[in-house]
């Protein structure tokens, strides 16, 4: 789906050129990083819409439980929404697949896949990725995995429904719920393909960053986007294989009768053979990826934001080295905090204490980043492009979401809010808002580079302000629903009088969610309209210092028509004293006696 739309998109743009490549090698099995980046982006937009519609379906049920909606019948039919009322099993399936798609397909594949591919060669001065072929495979594995995930929506028992964390035994036993049948098998197959894609991409990113930087592009002259993407790739390479092993062991338990995660289970009138396994083992393996995963999601967004805030505040990013240091610290710490998802599994309390300590340490580099962003704005000269708005939005949402993380990391407090709506509020504000805002910012900022066209600024403003207000309207009240003790993944709260006081907040949330989703129509329209009909872009529309803006607007294989550029300075010489312009490209040599920064 994504690829088709994409082929048309790119087709118009490149009509004027006569490359020797065939249609297939240029638009479908392309080795060119810029084309692969666009393929990732369009696939992610399609997947994001699937997940947004899912969220509307379950938000309707949560706001008006048991009511009939034509919207639900239209998408789910009589089987999963009899009489327009969402089925409880389908409710669980929707929250599961919504989470899976958003976390993996949009914010991992979509975000890293798009911007790592687009920016690594362009910002480092390379002709292409280290291996164009593996890069192409990475996209097509991603595409296949998306297809398998979407296909799982159409099997008999419905798609996987055990939550995006797919904890066994619920996910291991088809007797436990209908979604744990063929739908779950397809989920595991899809994730296996996804992990393969992610690893191929990640290895390529790391190899390229380490080996293919142009002359003068020292590690300490790399834009922060590069640092963020590089560290993201390293985290992915080290953690995704663990998820793969978790998924494979689960497949074995499901299909070959092993007992890695199963023990002492009596279900559907039968005592199962399995003994000696532990469901908690799966949780350790899952969260060993699962927690670094949230940094895989947020670090590229940080990188993009650093770049955009500095460019549009016309001011060097404050504390470049501290920003790199905090990225490295976050990347390292992300590996030793996974247990904070498991405080109430009965783990050894001392182990819990260790995870409290390491988790709260992450707040320090995170705080440094926020303070540095704010200081970058201070006495800047801020140009409000849509990208800049979304970057500012990222900082605001990261403050809100980061602070509640401190409460959740405190094991004694987590006992009472674990798995409540408070958690939903927290991680949607950091992932559903901050990381998505980073992605939007990146799209608005680099759209001229990707398509050679400009997106409409006014529509960008409308998109930002509606989304920004609605996102808070959706996720802020959830803190209160959670503090009232309301658990997540409940089909309805009407069985519990104790939640009567807060259920009307669910209506407010759903109304904001609907308006917020409609604002994404503005974005999608703006995106695709501009791909074909947008005004033509100039080479460096934002007066930016980095190398990607020294390439011609028309894409060439190899990026620069002549020799590769040589880098003389760091990327943040904005408003440098003694310069005529308020920007100095990285390829401008230092003047005699000029200090680098």
């Amino acid at each position: 789906m994504g690829a088709t739309a994409h082929v048309h998109a790119a087709g118009h743009e490149h009509e004027a050129h006569h490359h020797e490549e065939s249609f297939v090698s240029k638009y479908i099995f392309s080795h060119d990083h810029k084309m692969i980046s666009k393929q990732f982006l369009v696939t992610a937009i399609v997947m994001a819409w699937v997940a947004v519609i899912m969220s509307l379906l379950f938000r309707l049920q949560l706001a008006w439980p048991g009511e009939s909606f034509a919207f639900s019948s239209f998408f789910l039919g009589e089987k999963w929404a009899p009489g327009g009322v969402l089925d409880p099993n389908m409710y669980l399936a929707l929250v599961t697949i919504h989470g899976t798609i958003m976390v993996f397909f949009v914010l991992t594949g979509g975000l890293s896949g798009t911007f790592a591919n687009l920016l690594i060669p362009l910002q480092l001065g390379a002709r292409d990725m280290a291996s164009g072929f593996i890069n192409m495979l990475s996209y097509w594995f991603f595409f296949l995995s998306s297809v398998v995930m979407l296909a799982s929506l159409f099997v008999e028992g419905g798609p996987a429904s055990a939550g995006w964390t797919v904890y066994p035994p619920l996910s291991a036993l088809p007797q436990a719920m209908p979604g744990s049948g063929a739908g779950m098998t397809l989920w595991l197959v899809s994730m296996t393909l996804f992990i393969a894609s992610s690893l191929m991409g990640g290895l390529n990113y790391v190899a390229t960053v380490l080996n293919l930087r142009t002359k003068g592009m020292k590690m300490t002259r790399m834009p922060l986007t590069m640092w963020a993407i590089f560290l993201t790739a390293v985290i992915g390479i080290l953690s995704f294989p663990v998820l793969l092993s978790a998924a494979l062991l689960l497949l074995l338990d499901r299909s070959l009768g092993t007992s890695f995660y199963l023990s002492d289970i009596y279900i559907a009138g039968e005592a199962l053979d399995n003994t000696g396994g532990s469901p908690i083992l799966f949780q350790h393996l899952f969260w060993f990826l699962g927690h670094p995963e949230v940094y895989i999601v947020i670090l590229p967004a940080f990188g993009i934001t650093s770049e955009i805030i500095s460019t549009n505040a016309r001011k060097p990013i404050f504390g470049y080295r501290a920003m790199i240091g905090s990225l490295i610290a976050i990347a390292f710490l992300s590996f030793i905090v996974w247990g904070h998802h498991m405080f109430v599994t009965g783990m050894n309390p001392f182990l819990g204490s260790v995870f409290v300590f390491t988790t709260l340490l992450i707040a320090i580099p995170s705080a440094v980043k926020v303070f540095n962003y704010i200081t970058t704005l201070w006495r800047g000269n801020i140009v409000f492009t849509p990208a800049m708005l979304f970057s500012t939005g990222l900082v605001a949402t990261f403050i809100a979401g980061g602070l509640t993380g401190i409460i959740l990391a405190d094991s004694a407090l987590d006992i009472n809010i674990h798995d409540t709506y408070f958690v939903i509020a927290h991680f949607h504000i950091v992932m559903g808002m901050s990381a998505i805002f980073g992605m939007f910012a990146g799209i608005y900022h680099w759209f001229p580079k990707m398509y050679g066209k400009m997106m409409n600024t006014k529509l960008g403003y409308a998109h930002f302000w509606i989304t920004f207000v609605c996102a808070f309207g959706v996720f802020f009240p959830m803190h209160f629903i959670g503090l009232a003790g309301a658990p997540r993944r409940y089909y309805s709260y009407s069985e519990f009088p104790m939640f009567d006081g807060v259920v009307d907040l669910n209506i407010l949330v759903t109304v904001f969610a609907i308006i917020g989703a409609l604002a994404q129509v503005i974005f999608t329209y703006n995106f695709f309209y501009s791909v074909w009909r947008g005004p033509k872009a100039v080479q460096n529309p934002w007066k930016s210092n980095t190398l990607e803006w020294t390439t011609p607007v028309e894409h060439l294989h190899g990026n620069w028509p002549g020799p590769l550029p040589v880098v003389y300075r760091w990327p943040y010489d904005y408003s440098k004293p003694g310069k005529a312009e308020d920007w100095v490209s990285q390829i401008t040599p230092l003047e005699h006696g000029e200090e680098e920064h």
Partner: protein, 421 residues
């Protein structure tokens, strides 16, 4: 229907916005303005919006606090709950101060330092003193948060005192069952293979083992005769063959369990947990006395569940294959809480807080907290209906285990049960 109309209106509204933007774009293109040149007007608009957003944001937060602050959980009804509530408030105050200050700075700067042709941004690549300050300051604040947090955590998770009351909470799709010790004061051993209609928790006693073996023998015989005599589809035959094989394996394992049980009884005498099951009270009610420490033993039959009692600020997962525990001291009786909440039908609720299937959203059991005398009366009444009526049953013959490897597996169950004593 009205909702559909609202939807249509909103969609049309969005289309109108898009068309307006398009008209604007065309006119500005006629005037020779490029898309990437952000006009002074646009910059000013967004800067003003930043300033406008800040009070709206804080206002929304305040409105939520005012309108819903009293709809949050009432005062904690357990000793440790009072501590964690204090800790939560303490954390909130720190976080709200940080939240307000950082947001004011962020939105204030964003609105104030809007682009002007006549101005240049301040050249300030770094400032080591500032950066050091805001590395050390969060570290210091977090140190305080960590110390308070870990202290509370340590006291909550320390072992229960030996005289705490023991109650088992048993989860399955989609209900809860409680088990109280009988007159002997101890909970009996359990094994999931003994679960049947009359023994929902799989309590191990000589009678339940013998009963389950007899039941299995009967089922095996029925299935065998069906395989031998009935005309069946191939798939059905395969299914039944597999079923009967599983029953045989199960039977063998129960025989192993019986050996283990007899050895344990021979070794420990009356202290053996296998002798404590018969008088256990298995009940769909959950009662606790106020101001007495209780140790909850939490188990699951099928998938992971989570025992969550929001008013007690208590939560622990129920994991198949292991026993998890929490301790707590309820401090407010149900009746007192009804007065506090001015709600005469108020009940403490035990609910499931880990996704467990279609009816996850309605897996609950009320908890009744009463004064000690009322509780004792309830308990005495409950003990009149033990799991097995006391009767002298003949000891079944001890057989040698055919499969010695099965023994260590079963011994883990015993070890868990013993640990919990």
């Amino acid at each position: 229907m009205s909702k559909l109309l609202i939807l249509i209106v909103v969609v049309l509204g969005i289309l109108a916005v898009a068309q307006l933007a398009r008209v604007y774009e065309l006119t500005s293109r006629l005037r020779g303005k490029r898309e990437e040149d952000i006009s002074a007007g646009d910059n000013r608009f967004n800067a003003r919006m930043m300033w406008l957003f800040l009070p709206l944001y804080f206002g929304f937060f305040l409105w939520l606090v005012m309108a819903y602050g009293d709809k949050m959980l009432p005062v904690a009804a357990s000793e440790h709950g009072a501590e964690t509530d204090w800790l939560l408030d303490f954390n909130w105050w720190i976080l709200i101060i940080v939240f307000v200050i950082t947001n004011i700075l962020l939105f204030w700067f964003a609105g104030k330092y809007v682009y002007s042709k006549d101005r240049r941004a301040f050249w300030q690549p770094h400032n080591n003193k500032l950066e050091l300050a805001w590395t050390v300051a969060p570290a210091a604040v977090l140190a305080v948060i960590i110390i308070y947090g870990l202290n509370t955590w340590a006291s909550i998770t320390s072992p229960a005192s030996p005289d705490a009351i023991q109650v088992e909470l048993y989860a399955r799709q989609f209900d809860w069952t409680a088990r109280y010790p009988g007159a002997d004061g101890g909970l009996g051993a359990t094994d999931f293979r003994l679960i049947n209609g009359t023994n929902p928790l799989g309590i191990v006693t000589r009678e339940s083992v013998a009963g389950r073996l007899a039941e299995l023998d009967k089922e095996i015989a029925t299935t065998d005769s069906m395989l031998a005599h009935a005309i069946l589809a191939d798939t059905k035959t395969d299914e039944l063959t597999e079923q009967v094989e599983r029953m045989r394996r199960n039977k063998q394992r129960i025989i192993n369990l019986r050996t283990l049980m007899e050895n344990d009884i021979a070794e420990k005498g009356v202290a053996s947990p296998y002798l404590h099951g018969a008088d256990d009270v298995v009940i769909k009610e959950f009662h606790l006395p106020v101001r007495q420490e209780v140790k909850l033993l939490i188990r699951s039959q099928d998938v992971i569940h989570s025992a969550y009692i929001p008013h007690m600020r208590a939560q622990m997962n129920a994991v198949p294959g292991m026993t998890t525990t929490i301790k707590m001291v309820p401090t407010i009786t149900t009746d007192s809480m009804r007065l506090i909440t001015k709600n005469d039908v108020f009940d403490y609720i035990l609910l499931c807080n880990k996704i467990c299937g279609a009816s996850h959203y309605n897996m609950q059991m009320p908890l009744v907290v009463t004064d000690a005398a009322t509780h004792d009366a309830w308990y005495a009444e409950a003990m009149k209906k033990p799991f097995q009526a006391p009767a002298e049953a003949p000891a079944p013959p001890v057989s040698t285990p055919a499969d010695s490897t099965a023994v260590p597996v079963d011994s883990t169950t015993v070890a868990q049960v013993q640990q919990s004593h």
